[in-house]
């Protein structure tokens, strides 16, 4: 600032600060609430849709199908197929920190690809459902939904956060 007037360098410097603030406000308004528990999301999903063709999964199932340790995450909710010919599945994970998101997303992708290979060629309906699987990340939450009601599960997931 020279003689009380803003010169070009300062003008540009302050402009960058203003742009930074606008950018942060924009990012925040795009994000959801990170304080919701996975149990709440699970309740909202089970209220919104009837969970057919699946049963509650355990932490061992998470390890078996996704190679993920439940202890590493803040919360998990897993529903797995209830018989060998079903592909219905729901996974909701709340990560402890954002750096885990990529790992979870990758594990989910691998799971979906494995299921696709398992059913490709003979399970037409199953393959269709797997292709229509929804993988959604919002804030610190990751969702996988494989079901004919995947879009409603996704809507309940988004509404919860």
């Amino acid at each position: 600032m020279k003689n009380g007037k803003l010169d070009r360098i300062n003008l540009l410097k302050y402009l960058m600060v203003v742009l930074l603030i606008i950018y942060v406000v924009f990012l925040v308004t795009q994000e959801g609430d990170n304080t919701v528990s996975v149990d709440t999301i699970e309740k909202n999903i089970t209220k919104a849709v009837k969970l057919e063709g699946m049963k509650k999964g355990t932490t061992q199932d998470l390890k078996k199908y996704y190679s993920l340790n439940a202890n590493d995450y803040e919360g998990i909710s897993l529903y797995i197929p209830d018989d060998v010919m079903s592909v219905n599945e729901i996974l909701v994970i709340k990560v402890k920190n954002e750096s885990q998101i990529e790992t979870v997303e990758k594990a989910v992708e691998i799971r979906v690809n494995t299921q696709e290979k398992n059913f490709e060629g003979y399970g037409v309906e199953q393959t269709k459902l797997i292709h229509a699987a929804i993988i959604e990340t919002r804030g610190r939450y990751v969702l996988l939904a494989v079901s004919k009601d995947a879009d409603r599960i996704d809507a309940a997931f988004k509404k919860s956060i």
């Binding site: 360098i9 410097k13 960058m16 304080t35 594990a107």
Partner: protein, 468 residues
């Protein structure tokens, strides 16, 4: 994009190297800058804009400070404004959730918040920017008037997302002109492959042992299993992070840059003071130059010196993560360093080396338990089991299995974390008078092929230090 990903190794890196060496010298910085922006946008497209705004703000800020150097008050005002903005951005993205969670735990009301994902590398590039701004203010470096060169300093892809933290003064001249040669390129490639092998062959494998132990049910862990789990993490984090640093230094050399060493075999240390001279050297140097010394360092009264050390180690812990266990980890080292400095140092000097090694390693392993645990309670439980409380005996089938089925791996991890392997290899090359170029080519190409074989089959394994 990860250095240890197929797309980086076989598409991105070859393309950048070819363009870098084919195009005229004057385009080299621009090529590296564009490559770095693509590299960052690959994983963080949303936050590319944040980094670009940060670069522009700091570029103009640097110019403003530099032209006001004759008027100290104006320069200081500009510096303080800059520090507030940079630390506010870092604080918002990294510590918002931590601060509000802490307040929610104390206050009777619940503050709902919208925590954003952490922009990858923000802690590293913010510290690099601060080193530039403070050094311009101190008159230690000339202001960078060339915007692409300044942007390249901030974004340089080899060290953008997990360090080492390169201080501006160390690369100031290299940004304008640097030497490239076949020898340097070869050295860089060897560094890179060595780092890749550390990550893929050693860090990921020891990480599997740690994952196995951390997946065990509480109350089902024997003393030996707990120690093996903690040792596995100790090796994982070392090979992971030093591997990344080697790759970064190697890539730097391939493009003509010389970055300082970030790790110097920390697990051979005979005291915690020595450990911190060998571990994450670029971070320790940063805190020394920009926090510890300005606070007065050790040229003050004993009480103030202790205060300075605690401040630095509180900040070091906080830098690593927005959680109280990281703060505890930092202060844990702060307290040990104070005790070593004022009480233990004369005693340690008289002890046999082997005792000093054991003393250092035990304290470092306990430190890693604080580091990998997600809460105090979890850390306390784990440490209790390590010392027998609530343990499933001293050793059980699980611990014997972890030890015996990985015996070769444990030996490789132990010897690999000492200078022995590297020195023996160099010594052999010297004494046998073999053709070093041919031997190195065969050894490193073989190592690279083994890494690729692992990479194509294994699942996604990001670097641990990406979260910082």
């Amino acid at each position: 994009m990860l250095f240890s990903s197929i797309v980086f190794l076989f598409t991105f890196l070859p393309a950048v190297v070819i363009l870098y060496y084919l195009l005229p010298v004057r385009f080299r910085n621009v090529i590296l800058l564009l490559a770095s922006l693509v590299f960052y946008a690959w994983g963080e497209p949303v936050y590319l804009f944040l980094m670009l705004l940060s670069i522009l703000f700091n570029y103009f800020s640097g110019l403003d400070i530099a032209r006001n150097l004759q008027d100290k008050r104006a320069a200081k005002r500009s510096l303080v404004f800059n520090l507030i903005i940079n630390l506010a951005v870092l604080g918002f993205f990294k510590y918002e959730g931590f601060v509000l969670d802490t307040l929610n735990g104390i206050l009777p009301v619940h503050i709902s918040y919208h925590a954003l994902p952490l922009p990858i590398g923000i802690s590293f590039y913010t510290f690099q920017i601060l080193s530039y701004i403070i050094d311009v203010y101190r008159g230690n470096v000339k202001v960078q008037t060339n915007l692409p060169n300044f942007a390249l300093y901030v974004t340089m892809f080899p060290q953008l997302i997990a360090g080492p933290i390169v201080q501006y003064a160390d690369v100031d001249e290299q940004l304008a002109s640097r030497e490239v040669s076949r020898t340097k390129f070869g050295e860089g490639s060897m560094y890179f492959i060595r780092g890749l092998a550390k990550k893929v062959l050693l860090a990921n494998t020891s990480g599997m042992i740690f994952t196995e132990v951390s997946g065990l049910a509480k109350g089902n862990i024997a003393v030996m299993t707990a120690w093996l789990g903690a040792f596995a993490y100790m090796f994982q984090i070392y090979f992971d992070f030093s591997g990344y640093s080697d790759m970064a230094i190697g890539l730097g050399k391939m493009f003509g840059f010389e970055f300082n060493m970030n790790f110097n075999y920390p697990y051979v240390s005979k005291s915690i003071t020595e450990f911190w001279r060998r571990w994450h050297i670029s971070l320790s140097s940063w805190f020394r130059d920009y926090v510890y010394i300005p606070l007065g360092g050790n040229r003050v009264s004993k009480i103030k010196h202790i205060r300075n050390l605690l401040i630095v180690w509180f900040l070091t812990g906080l830098w690593h993560g927005a959680a109280w266990n990281f703060v505890a980890w930092g202060l844990y080292y702060g307290v040990i360093l104070i005790i070593e400095k004022y009480l233990l140092s004369p005693v340690l000097d008289r002890l046999p080396d082997v005792v000093r090694h054991i003393y250092s390693i035990v304290l470092v392993v306990i430190g890693w338990v604080l580091f990998f645990s997600s809460s105090f309670g979890q850390a306390a439980d784990y440490i209790r089991v390590m010392f027998g409380a609530g343990a499933h005996g001293f050793a059980d089938r699980e611990s014997m299995y972890l030890l015996t089925s990985n015996l070769i791996l444990w030996l490789i991890l132990i010897f690999g974390s000492t200078p022995l392997v590297h020195f023996r290899y160099e010594h052999m090359l010297r004494t046998k008078k073999w053709n070093t170029t041919i031997i190195n080519s065969v050894v490193y190409v073989a190592l690279f092929i083994v890494c690729i074989a692992y990479l194509v089959t294994e699942t996604y394994n990001p670097f641990l230090y990406f979260r910082f």
